[in-house]
């Protein structure tokens, strides 16, 4: 997937751990193969090439779509899995550039599937399922992560979240209990700075422009696919509507991070987010 994967598992012996890790990596590769748009043989690519034809999708791909459509419906299309053409117009991820307005308008009309906002999380979940059978585990792919069980010392896994103003620092740490996942959408993950303006990869499905207003959103969910999709959805919805949308979801908690004029962070948290917080850094 072009990103860094970090897998940790608590096992009784090295052989078991190695075998489990190997299987987990296979899961990641497998999901990527189904969902990536970079490979024309993937399920998604084939579907885009022939949307009306009878393309046979694997059950797993259908599961990913199910999650995607569900979040789309519940977020009032803030999360939109059909922005493939628009993302291409912007040149993400390889050659980002500001697209011609006419090109952008045409792209907005096209429905091209891009599951980037949910497939990574899905992969994380599958890998965590495999590792979770062995013992406590933590799977982190490109910053989206899921945990099972606890760390070796019996405490819940401790997760730090990047400060959007300075990704080398953390702004908060969280204790994540068994069976939860954390995903973050931020304007600092994929972007291009053109003429001093930052154009990032989280686009408003209506206008095709990068969404302004928030620096990042972190969501805690029962699985990483949901966390991944909702982090994007909440980012698009903005600080107030995003928080309300998350609040309405009983299984989700999250924090929406905006930057004030003086450079300090303004956090909009759902009401159940507090208990997960271990420490806040100014």
């Amino acid at each position: 997937m072009g990103t860094v994967a970090e897998l940790k598992v608590v096992a009784t012996d090295e052989k078991t751990a190695d075998a489990a890790l190997s299987d987990a990596y296979d899961e990641l590769a497998r999901v990527e193969l189904l969902a990536t748009t970079h490979n024309e043989l993937s399920d998604v690519s084939r579907l885009n090439a022939d949307p009306d034809g009878n393309v046979v999708l694997s059950p797993e791909t259908r599961n990913i779509f199910r999650v995607a459509f569900r979040v789309q419906a519940e977020s009032d299309s803030a999360f939109c899995p059909t922005l493939g053409a628009v993302l291409r117009a912007w040149g993400f991820p390889d050659e980002p550039h500001v697209p011609d307005p006419a090109v952008l308008r045409a792209a907005l009309k096209k429905e091209e599937y891009d599951l980037g906002g949910v497939a990574k999380g899905f992969g994380v979940d599958r890998a965590a399922d495999v590792l979770g059978q062995v013992g406590g585990c933590l799977v982190n792919v490109g910053g989206d992560l899921a945990v099972r069980g606890t760390r070796p010392d019996g405490k819940p896994w401790l997760i730090g979240v990047q400060d959007p103003r300075d990704p080398s620092r953390l702004f908060i740490t969280l204790r994540i209990p068994d069976g939860r996942a954390v995903a973050t959408s931020g304007d600092y993950q994929r972007f291009a700075e053109i003429d001093g303006v930052r154009y990032h990869h989280i686009l408003d499905p209506k206008t095709g422009q990068p969404v302004r207003g928030l620096r990042s959103v972190t969501v805690i969910a029962p699985n990483c696919a949901l966390a991944d999709a909702w982090a994007t959805a909440a980012f698009v919805l903005g600080p107030e509507k995003g928080r309300e949308a998350l609040e309405r979801q009983s299984t989700l908690e999250g924090v929406l991070v905006a930057e004030a004029e003086d450079g300090s962070l303004v956090l909009h948290e759902t009401s159940g987010f507090g208990p997960f917080v271990e420490e806040r850094f100014p």
């Binding site: 933590l138 992560l145 896994w157 990047q162 620092r169 740490t173 973050t184 972190t218 420490e279």
Partner: protein, 136 residues
């Protein structure tokens, strides 16, 4: 004239106010020497270059950490709960001579490189540990 340059001569030359001022400053120096070590054990060494934090090294994880600086590289080594500079591209190498530091509030500085390593402690009750993973 040369009597100015003997300790007694100098003392005589000083007014009462001079002596008082000198005494106060010496006292301040004494207090500073004694009073600055914070209790507790430091959890990490915070490394800054030019004022910006570039790394936080937990002191319970031994390792070697090269830090890029304007004149090249400074190599920090964490072992036995302390941190020190093992190599530096600066001209004076004062930072290496400063040795290993392990108390909260301690400082190792390489001024030509604007590099500072400051030991920051953790509160006694409750651990602040390094996270197991980072959500991005």
């Amino acid at each position: 004239m040369t009597r100015l340059f003997t300790p007694r001569g100098l003392w005589n030359e000083m007014t009462g106010a001079d002596r008082a001022a000198s005494g106060v400053i010496l006292a301040v120096a004494g207090v500073l020497t004694l009073g600055l070590r914070a209790p507790g054990e430091p959890a990490r060494a915070v490394v800054r270059v030019g004022g910006d934090v570039v790394a936080e090294l937990p002191l319970d994880r031994p390792g070697t950490f090269p830090v890029p600086v304007r004149s090249g590289t400074v190599v920090l080594v964490v072992e036995d709960g302390a941190v020190r500079v093992s190599e530096s591209s600066c001209s004076g190498k004062v930072c290496i001579a400063m040795g290993a530091k392990d108390r909260p509030g301690d400082l190792i500085a390489c001024v030509p490189n604007a590099l500072a390593v400051r030991l920051e402690g953790r509160p006694r009750a409750g651990d602040r540990e390094a996270p197991d993973s980072i959500a991005r």
